[in-house]
């Protein structure tokens, strides 16, 4: 049997005395597009950060392509797993090109600069993410959507099979939401990337993905297909509110709106 891209088993994490994640188990096959959903404070972001050791600690096991997370050096891990954090207001005094070049870190040695091979990878990543025109711009001057695409391009430049994304479309305007969703879907289908994306917006989350897991107060409460997730009783149980389902012509999944029908 082929190794799972990501295999999490009985993973628990406590921070500051509070249990953030409780006995989480799930696995992701290579080529999967997994959405991690759930209400605020469910532990989605924490879980994502535990998969590439941005957060450390916790009990249970996490395996990446069959190998235990602890066995990786941080550099080796970065060659297999890339990461796009939540869009925030941090100051980024670098140009898009400089920032993307940092994605090649796991392949560089101390005094070496960017080589021909790195340059090719960077160009390729910029093309695939459609950010060629932004390369000389400072990140501080980009819009949220543009910045998000640069972050995805930088993650691509890392050349990792697995991409972790935290709320990739949440703060973007409609056009950029569509563009980023399309980009991720394309990277998954044609680029062969295994994608794990955290989101709290079900409508945007479930288009493009082939699997979903849901967390609620640190526990895994659902693992299955998007269609199975979108059941009234199940969503009510997870989000503790009612939903209205609106059938969408040409789509297997309904559009959902929080709140009962008016």
């Amino acid at each position: 049997m082929k190794d799972a891209a990501v295999a999490v088993e009985n993973f628990s994490l406590e921070l500051g005395g509070a249990t953030i994640l409780r006995e989480i188990s799930f696995s992701v096959r290579p080529g999967d597009y997994l959405s991690i959903v759930g209400p605020n404070g469910a532990g989605k972001t924490t879980l994502l950060k535990c998969l590439n050791r941005v957060l450390t600690g916790g009990s249970g096991s996490v395996r990446i392509f069959g190998r235990s997370l602890e066995e990786f050096s941080q550099r080796e891990l970065a060659r297999r797993v890339s990461y796009v954090p939540q869009l925030d207001g941090r100051s980024l005094p670098f140009t898009a090109a400089e920032f993307m070049a940092m994605g090649r870190y796991p392949y560089l040695s101390a005094f070496s600069g960017i080589r021909q091979q790195d340059r090719r990878e960077l160009n390729d990543a910029a093309c695939r993410a459609g950010v060629e025109d932004l390369l000389e711009r400072r990140l501080d001057t980009l819009s949220g959507g543009e910045r998000q695409k640069v972050f995805i391009a930088a993650a691509l430049a890392q050349g990792a099979e697995i991409m972790l994304l935290d709320e990739p479309t949440t703060f973007l305007d409609y056009r950029h939401q569509v563009e980023v969703r399309r980009l991720l879907s394309e990277l998954n289908r044609r680029g062969g990337k295994t994608v794990l994306a955290v989101t709290h917006d079900l409508n945007s989350a479930l288009t493009g993905c082939n699997r979903a897991i849901a967390l609620k107060r640190g526990e895994l409460v659902f693992d299955g297909s998007p269609a199975e997730l979108l059941r009234e009783s199940r969503l009510r149980e997870i989000y503790r509110t009612g939903f209205t389902f609106i059938e969408q012509p040409g789509s297997a999944l309904p559009f959902i709106r929080p709140g009962e029908a008016l």
Binding site: G16, R53, S73, S82, F94, M102
Partner: protein
């Protein structure tokens, strides 16, 4: 890119030029013969080779070390105000040195003067404190850390005052003199003492340029790109403490160089630490040399301690950064 490359070489060359010309400045004019014959006797030669050149070497190395340390901390804490001085490293080193003088100790450790060793111990104490604070509580903000640094500085200053109060007049004066940062050297000894720290420290920090770039974006990004953040942090803390402690043990606490020099260098050559680190190191050396040259020539024959000058420049600079001056963002 071309513009930045030119700026980089301008910074390096200008810093070197200032440093090379500095020994010529002073009340005593130096004639060509004295310059060309280092060993020859004569007042000019003596002043030039025995006093001014060692002093300029010391100030260059001290300035470089302070700038390198400041730059590394600024990247690590993602804040232009976070330097070894604002985080209490210098006051720790001063405390160590004061204790050494106050207790009338006299020993050498591994070839370094006891004062250097005591300064280093004090610096490590301060760093250890700030470091454990930053680990103790996740989400401890840089702002909080800076305030902790202020608290540490006040606390250590009080201890220094206590030591001074308990000491006899001579020791007390000795301590006071070293609390006002100044470069009073009359041999190559201090420069040679500084050299290994400045050189090794600078090479280590320049070799961490990629890591410093990533850390200045954020620890999460740095980790996800493959930086072993814990290891880098330890190395930076250790190396910077050594460098700053070495400077403090020889020159006393010379404030604000570690904040101003990297920031000015950043404004000229940009954020990329592969260029910025060497630029800041050279610029820091040239900058402190310039300040020290002013200190000994402005109202010659009286000398102003260079620490007074850097602090007079640094105070307003700090406020300018705090008010959101160019390039920096205080979070």
């Amino acid at each position: 890119m071309g513009g930045r490359g030119a700026a980089f070489w301008t910074v390096i060359l200008a810093s070197l030029a200032v440093t090379l010309l500095a020994p010529l400045a002073g009340p005593q004019a130096i004639g060509l013969p004295a310059l060309l014959h280092p060993g020859a006797s004569g007042v000019e030669g003596e002043i030039f080779w025995r006093i001014r050149v060692p002093r300029v070497c010391t100030s260059f190395l001290a300035g470089s070390s302070l700038a390198a340390g400041g730059l590394a901390f600024q990247a690590l804490f993602r804040n232009p105000l976070a330097t070894p001085f604002t985080l209490g490293v210098a006051s720790g080193a001063s405390l160590g040195a004061s204790l050494y003088v106050g207790l009338g100790l006299g020993f050498t450790l591994l070839g370094f003067s006891g004062e250097t060793a005591a300064s280093f111990a004090g610096a490590m104490l301060a760093v250890g404190f700030v470091y454990s604070l930053s680990r103790l509580k996740s989400g401890f903000t840089t702002g909080g850390m800076l305030l902790a640094g202020v608290a540490v500085s006040f606390f250590f200053s009080s201890l220094i005052l206590l030591i001074q109060y308990m000491s006899d007049f001579t020791k007390s004066f000795n301590i006071l003199r070293r609390l006002i940062g100044g470069i009073q050297v009359v041999s190559f000894g201090p420069a040679l003492n500084l050299l290994p720290f400045a050189l090794v420290g600078s090479v280590v920090l320049v070799s961490l340029a990629h890591e410093l770039n990533l850390l200045s974006v954020g620890e999460d990004i740095a980790t996800s790109r493959g930086v072993d953040v814990r290891r880098v942090r330890k190395v930076v803390f250790g190396v910077v403490s050594l460098m700053v402690a070495a400077v403090v043990s020889i020159c006393g606490p010379i404030g604000f160089v570690g904040m101003m020099a990297p920031h000015m260098a950043r404004m000229m050559v940009g954020q990329d630490h592969r260029r910025l680190a060497p630029a800041a190191i050279f610029f820091g050396g040239g900058f402190l040399t310039l300040c020290d040259t002013l200190a000994r020539t402005m109202i010659a024959p009286v000398e102003i301690p260079v620490g007074v000058i850097t602090s007079l420049l640094g105070g307003p600079f700090f406020l300018w950064l705090l008010l959101g001056g160019q390039g920096g963002r205080i979070s």
